[in-house]
């Protein structure tokens, strides 16, 4: 019995791989998140602690009702 193994890499997991890149990726991270960089990676805070602090890239993500 074999089920097809198409894997979802996970959006958050992909972003994390960039953040883990050390100094090489720091500039890239700043470019991607801009001023929201701290609120994005502030894992010690609850997400809803900082309303409106979502990164520009993460806004407008309403699921398509279709």
């Amino acid at each position: 019995m074999h089920v097809l193994a198409y894997l979802d890499p996970g959006s958050g997991s992909m972003v994390l791989q960039m953040l883990l890149g050390g100094i090489a990726s720091a500039a890239v991270a700043v470019k991607m998140f801009g001023k929201q960089i701290w609120s994005t990676i502030a894992f010690w805070k609850k997400d809803d602690d900082a309303p409106g602090a979502k990164p520009a890239a993460a806004v407008d993500t309403e699921k398509d009702p279709a």
């Binding site: 019995m1 958050g12 997991s13 960039m18 883990l20 890149g21 994005t40 993460a58 699921k63």
Partner: protein, 455 residues
């Protein structure tokens, strides 16, 4: 995939064929196959295919067919020890790094792609290798965390056994679940927890609704490169290489100090077992193998031995000693007869019960029956019926009621429980299902050995 008598066949699409060619031409493939870390694989000449039910229908649409060697006995991560899961993870990372050097990558990171030949991990899914697409992150990273890293971190830092969790969740432990367990401030300072666990859970929540291809594009624009994948894999390698589980360490230390014990009973037992092995069985199951002393004796004559026990730390110590000596004939597994691996996944058929994977030719049940019948409350007749269903020769030890170990197990129970646990009843039931060829009382007089063949 088609499973034949002595080989496994993999049917490739056009795209799969191109990926396979890239792998087959790589140095990684030649080197790791020679080292036994990659399953033996060959491409069948055009027009040739596997034989068997339903084989032809699949093969007519195939671009090519691969033939893999068979692994003696398929096992699953929820039957492995800490050391086994860690070594499987390290193999996965080694192959990922080797692949990156040759413009290849692993498209997933399932722990089910690793099998064990005795104590040696073998990567069996050559279909996981594909040509690298520069600028994309590693698609297998999340799966690597869920099926390898998180189970190992939970076991190492919180002593949460990973086997029940993996058995209950075929996809593994999510970042959110791992973060909920590794939630203390102390955990934050453990290597990898802040990033792979806590930050991972945070980002997963934040990016929950984001489309994967959009994120990929953004990363590409931001100049993500395979160098970052390599750096991440190297750091994971460093983290896992040093990760230790305390109970396993303690068992390992004890193992090395006490594994050479010998007394009159042990000597008599060994001689009895050696005689039962004169038939050169192909596969022996050593149930309740403990330190594996009798598995080692079985391996002198058998082709392959499955040594299982329910105690994780004990089996981990056995695995480490087998690994140290490069033993590829004894497969150690964490397995509880009273709570065995079920059929799991789609239609309960993706992962199979142990009995469906390989039937034994000889079963050793030494110093086991009191644990099954008294600790796990299985009636004697029921246990013997189960053994008969395995349809194999049997060496079994009965531990009498007056044995100190049985007295200890009975001590917490009400007077008169387990009335069926008597040697006379056991012998009667055994004779109904098996023909007893030899019977020998051990010098201690509280234990009796039987060699029996199924009727």
């Amino acid at each position: 995939m088609l499973i034949g008598e002595d080989a496994v066949y993999r049917v490739l699409s056009e795209r799969g064929l191109a990926d396979w060619r890239a792998l087959a031409d790589s140095q990684l493939f030649a080197a790791q196959t020679a080292a036994g870390a990659l399953v033996g694989t060959e491409q069948l000449p055009a027009g040739e295919g596997p034989v068997g039910d339903g084989a032809s229908a699949l093969v007519t649409e195939a671009a090519a067919v691969l033939r893999h060697e068979r692994i003696p006995l398929v096992s699953y991560p929820y039957e492995w020890t800490f050391g086994m899961l860690r070594d499987a993870a390290l193999l996965e990372l080694e192959l990922l790094l080797g692949a990156l050097d040759e413009q290849l990558i692993l498209k997933d990171a399932s722990s089910y792609n690793v099998q064990f030949r005795g104590s040696k991990p073998v990567f069996v899914d050559v279909g996981s290798f594909e040509r690298l697409r520069e600028g994309e992150p590693w698609a297998g990273y999340r799966q690597f965390c869920m099926l390898f890293l998180f189970p190992l971190l939970l076991q190492a830092h919180r002593d949460v056994p990973f086997q029940p969790w993996l058995r209950g969740s075929i996809d593994g432990i999510t970042p959110t679940e791992a973060a909920a367990v590794l939630s203390s401030t102390r955990d934050l300072f453990r290597r990898g927890v802040m990033t792979h666990v806590r930050l991972h859970a945070r980002l997963e929540r934040r990016y929950e609704a984001r489309k994967g291809d959009e994120v990929k594009q953004e990363l590409r624009k931001a100049r993500f490169s395979s160098k970052l994948i390599k750096g991440n894999a190297l750091r994971l390698q460093g983290l896992l290489g040093k990760l230790q589980w305390k109970a396993g360490e303690t068992a390992w230390t004890d193992y090395r100090q006490t594994c050479t014990y010998s007394d009159a009973d042990a000597d008599a037992k060994q001689a009895f077992i050696r005689q039962a092995l004169e038939t050169n069985p192909k596969l022996v199951w050593d149930m309740g193998a403990n330190d594996g002393a009798y598995s080692r004796i079985a391996a002198e004559r058998a082709d392959y031995v499955l040594a299982f026990d329910l105690d994780h730390a004990t089996v981990d110590a056995l695995y480490r000693s087998l690994k140290e000596e490069g033993n590829e004939k004894i497969l150690p597994l964490v397995f509880n007869l009273a709570d065995p691996s079920p059929g799991l996944g789609w239609r309960g058929q993706e992962r199979r019960p142990l009995e469906d994977r390989a039937k034994p030719d000889l079963v050793l049940g030494l110093a086991l029956i009191h644990h099954v019948c008294i600790t796990a409350n299985v009636p004697v007749r029921e246990f013997v019926d189960y053994l008969r269903d395995l349809d194999a020769n049997l060496v079994i030890e009965f531990v009498k009621r007056e044995d100190p170990m049985v007295e200890l197990l009975m001590s917490g129970k009400a007077e008169g429980t387990h009335p069926d646990y008597e040697i006379s009843n056991f012998e009667r039931v055994l004779e109904e299902r098996f023909s007893v060829e030899r019977r020998q009382e051990l010098p201690s007089t509280t234990r009796v050995l039987y060699e029996a063949r199924p009727r």
